[in-house]
């Protein structure tokens, strides 16, 4: 068994940023475990631009964004293993991984940073019934086939779900010569960013059908058609609204799920809302010394925020290895009206070194509403927002001064109000 101070599970944007930060905070030994054949994670297949506007104040493609961090990892000589899959993590931080060169590797980690990202919700998990044929792929899988491997999957495409990858793939498939017939979204609003609707659908004349869904699929060997129906307010298909649309490919962009199988093995408590770990202000999970950041914690809208979050998580992982202790984070942050979840889930104000940054998502669309943070029932922050959508991650920042001014903090609520 070898000893490593900081083991980072995943070499995508979260893992890379965490590694760089851990090194800069003085960690002696760091090891990134990446299952793919190269660092960068899903960014490698995101060849479109739009990354880095916050982080680097310039517009980069996914691979370019990843390369900035990969270069830092190389410069700082941070070790990493590629083609290496983590197959077990215990609650006392024994990490087991495997690759073809070293076989099974057992590592005692001082701290573990979970940065394994998320996966796509598959077809079976949503209620589409019908034939069993080829031609149904998740948008991310299609993106890998088209952008990394260089192969096309179909000619006449329907996209179910308006998540960002679905929107991006609508444009991508069009550029590759396919006919993208429509993007179908069951909700009355898109789950993707507005800029993607404009740049990927509107600019290419691809229709977006809101409050619609695919109710069944037809095809003998290859997909031949899907039935599209309008849904009512309870999201049930409206009888009589069905129509059959001819297509050979159905791409699904119906949600991302944090990939926490390894966290579960380490007894990490997960949130039923985010699917990610329940963490405190230091991004530490319920299992001491195991930290989480990036999409494995909660699905982000922009990679820039993943990097920022992961850098902060790594700092605390280094603190843990060094034996620095913090006060127990026992004050809950409660998602109030209109808020689905918050990260962190709980804090201790004494542990906040600069600002308390709360990331959260709203549960539906709002216009001209206020985001409010209440401490002990009293508003400490209030901000008018012309438009709030679930697709965008929101941020509320409370300064350390403001927190310290309140002597006995019992509860914190984040809500959407008038």
């Amino acid at each position: 068994m070898k000893n490593v101070d900081i083991v980072i599970v995943g070499g995508g944007p979260a893992g890379l940023a965490a590694a760089v930060s851990a090194k800069r905070h003085g960690a002696d030994s760091i090891l990134i475990l990446e299952r793919d054949a190269s660092l960068g994670g899903i960014l490698n297949q995101c060849i479109h631009s739009g990354f880095g506007l916050h982080r680097f104040k310039e517009e980069l493609t996914g691979p370019e964004y990843a390369q900035r961090y990969i270069s830092l990892v190389e410069e700082l000589e941070i070790p990493y293993l590629l083609g290496t899959t983590v197959i077990d993590i215990t609650h006392d931080r024994k990490v087991t991984a495997v690759n073809s060169e070293d076989g099974v590797i057992e590592i005692q980690a001082g701290a573990v940073i979970m940065a394994a990202g998320c996966r796509e919700r598959p077809a079976g998990a949503i209620n589409i019934y019908g034939d069993r044929c080829t031609g149904i792929y998740t948008a991310g899988t299609a993106q890998k086939f088209v952008n990394i491997d260089g192969y096309m999957l179909g000619k006449k495409i329907i996209i179910l779900g308006s998540g960002d990858i679905g929107l991006i793939m609508a444009r991508r498939m069009t550029l590759e010569g396919a006919e993208v017939k429509a993007v179908i979204e069951i909700m009355p609003f898109s789950s993707g960013l507005n800029r993607n609707i404009v740049q990927c659908l509107n600019d290419f004349g691809i229709p977006l059908y809101l409050s619609h869904t695919v109710t069944s699929i037809k095809g003998d060997k290859r997909l031949e058609s899907v039935t599209v129906a309008e849904v009512d307010q309870s999201l049930k298909p409206i009888k009589g609204s069905e129509r059959e649309v001819e297509c050979d490919t159905l791409l699904l962009s119906v949600g991302l799920l944090p990939e926490n199988e390894m966290s579960k093995r380490a007894d990490v408590v997960l949130s039923g809302v985010t699917g990610g770990a329940v963490v405190n202000e230091r991004f530490e999970t319920s299992t001491p010394g195991i930290f989480a950041c990036g999409n494995v914690l909660h699905v982000h809208d922009l990679v820039d925020y993943v990097s920022e979050e992961s850098e902060r998580a790594a700092k605390y992982a280094v603190d843990f290895v060094r034996g620095r202790t913090y006060a127990e984070s026992d004050i809950q942050i409660t998602p109030g009206s209109g808020v689905r979840y918050t990260v962190p889930f709980k804090i201790n104000p004494h542990n906040i070194e600069d600002n308390l940054v709360i990331r959260f998502r709203v549960s539906t669309r709002y216009s001209d509403k206020r985001i409010r943070v209440l401490i002990n029932g009293e508003p400490v922050m209030s901000r008018l927002e012309p438009a709030l959508v679930p697709a965008e991650m929101q941020t509320a920042v409370i300064s350390r001064e403001k927190l310290n001014a309140i002597p006995d903090i019992r509860d914190i609520v984040v809500e959407v109000g008038d």
Binding site: V98, I148, K221
Partner: protein, 486 residues
């Protein structure tokens, strides 16, 4: 000319092929699909029934319990996953307890051992997620679970090892008999002749029989829909839970699968199209509604897959196994619906006995009952993992993260006797792509490995049958560049 021609590479055909390979016989199996276990055998409950359900005296009653007892040895010889977890038949009304008693007596007549009636208290201990309305149950400890396609593949592979030939993409279009010789023609125009014809054509066994015999059979597909749940809730129930029929009709089962998932289903709908394995919202509503009688708080969020299968239901209701009365050496194995999977080993022995009564069979001295073992990386300890990776580094590369399947296992599945030639073939042999992400991450890798191992272009790789290609061609940019080069 072969001695024996078997039509159908499902569980019946494969088990019969393996049983007959014990003898010095020239045997060929014709399968219309690209792989064995491609029809009913791949989409069913995967239960090795104890044998209490069928009426004593019927073939189903006679063969099931006998066959059940053979599974421990077979699972070992053929290296397929099998667990004897026991079954419960739930009763929801005190007034129905006598029906449980009747079932117990029937089971005992069929030779089922260990049956007993248990009360609600014991039931709750066995199954904490039991519904509030279950009052008692029949407990059958010998009931088991098996992976139906892995079992079929195991039989077929062992048969192939012992000299049986399998021909795929061989849909039979005509069968005739002249001077004691059968002539079988397939869609591709190929012609096969044989002395003994075994009709194990599943849903199509009536059509084969009816081409040769005046004793007409009628098989009507009876569709059953299923819902498969993530392994995270594989322990939701511990036994296979059946129901006594209620006013909602025949019940559905809730069971762990041998691979650790949870399975709910099937309903029963008589349909006309023998190829219709579509799933429906109505069918799923029905199975969920019925399953809620058995267990409470079903974790619907954990569903990963909907599927359906077709039972080869013959009008008479029992298995039809035997030589056709008006066509010598045509042996029908028809109407093999539940408990067909459970009975397959005994059916295979019965078919061998029928042939032995008519023909002198010499033992095959080279017969090996054991299939070449399958390495399942996820089941090994770390020491064994290191040994295998040292020998073959491909076992160190995990391709399917959800089910922890390595490249070594996928390559082996392709290179084995009767190896996988399709994406689904790899899935069924290794479980790659069968986990919670349903092949989202591993499909590009599997397609690449298949193309490499089969020596074909990646665009020729299919999901299953001819025409189910996964990729249609090169990207525009790369395609244009390649064309220019040419």
């Amino acid at each position: 000319m072969t001695d024996v021609l078997i039509i159908g590479g499902g569980i019946s055909g494969s088990a019969i092929a393996r049983e007959l390979s014990r003898y010095q016989l020239n045997i060929t199996v014709l399968e219309k699909d690209v792989d064995v276990s491609a029809g009913t055998s791949k989409a069913n409950s995967g239960i090795v029934h104890a044998g209490f359900d069928a009426k004593p005296g019927t073939l189903k009653g006679r063969l099931n319990a006998k066959s059940n007892a053979m599974f421990d040895r077979l699972a070992k010889e053929l290296d397929f996953p099998f667990k004897r977890i026991g079954a419960l038949v739930l009763c929801f009304d005190e007034a129905d307890i006598p029906k449980l008693e009747q079932l117990k007596v029937r089971g005992e007549e069929n030779g089922v051992e260990g049956l007993r009636i248990i009360d609600r208290d014991e039931l709750m201990q066995l199954e904490p997620n039991m519904s509030d309305i279950a009052v008692a149950a029949l407990y059958a400890p010998t009931s088991g679970i098996v992976c139906p396609y892995e079992m079929t593949i195991a039989f077929a592979e062992n048969a192939a090892q012992n000299g049986v030939s399998f021909v795929f993409n061989a849909k039979v279009t005509s069968v005739s008999k002249e001077n004691g010789i059968f002539t079988v023609k397939t869609e591709s125009g190929a012609e096969y002749t044989c002395h003994i014809l075994i009709n194990a054509a599943g849903l199509y066994a009536d059509e084969i029989n009816n081409m040769l015999s005046e004793r007409k059979l009628k098989i009507r597909p009876r569709k059953g829909e299923y819902s498969l749940f993530d392994k995270a809730v594989g322990g939701f129930v511990n036994h296979t839970i059946f129901q006594l029929p209620t006013n909602l009709g025949k019940g559905v089962l809730v069971t762990p699968t041998v691979e650790g998932n949870m399975l709910i289903g099937p309903n029963a709908e008589d349909i006309d199209d023998k190829a219709d394995v579509s799933t429906t919202a109505e069918g799923h509503r029905e199975i969920f509604e019925k399953a809620e009688l058995s267990v409470k708080d079903i974790p619907y969020k954990q569903i990963i897959k909907a599927f359906s299968g077709l039972r080869a239901h013959e009008a008479g209701g029992d298995f039809i196994i035997g030589e056709a009365e008006d066509c010598e050496n045509l042996i029908n194995v028809a109407g093999i619906e539940s408990p067909g999977l459970s009975s397959a080993p005994a059916i295979a022995e019965m078919v061998a006995d029928i042939i032995k009564q008519k023909h002198e069979l010499k033992e095959n001295p080279d017969f090996n009952p054991c299939r070449k073992p399958v390495i399942r990386f996820r089941d090994l300890d770390n020491e064994a993992r290191n040994r295998i990776i040292e020998k073959n580094p491909a076992y160190g590369t995990v391709v399917c993260r959800c089910e922890t399947v390595t490249e070594g296992e996928i390559v082996d599945a392709i290179r084995r006797p009767l190896g996988a030639t399709t994406f689904d073939g790899v899935k069924r042999r290794t479980r790659a792509g069968m986990g919670r992400c349903q092949s989202g991450f591993c499909s590009p890798r599997i397609v690449e490995i298949l193309a490499r191992e089969l020596g074909v272009d990646i665009t020729e790789v299919t999901k299953s049958v001819h025409g189910s290609n996964i990729l249609i061609g090169r990207d525009k940019l790369i395609g244009d560049a390649e064309n220019e080069k040419r």
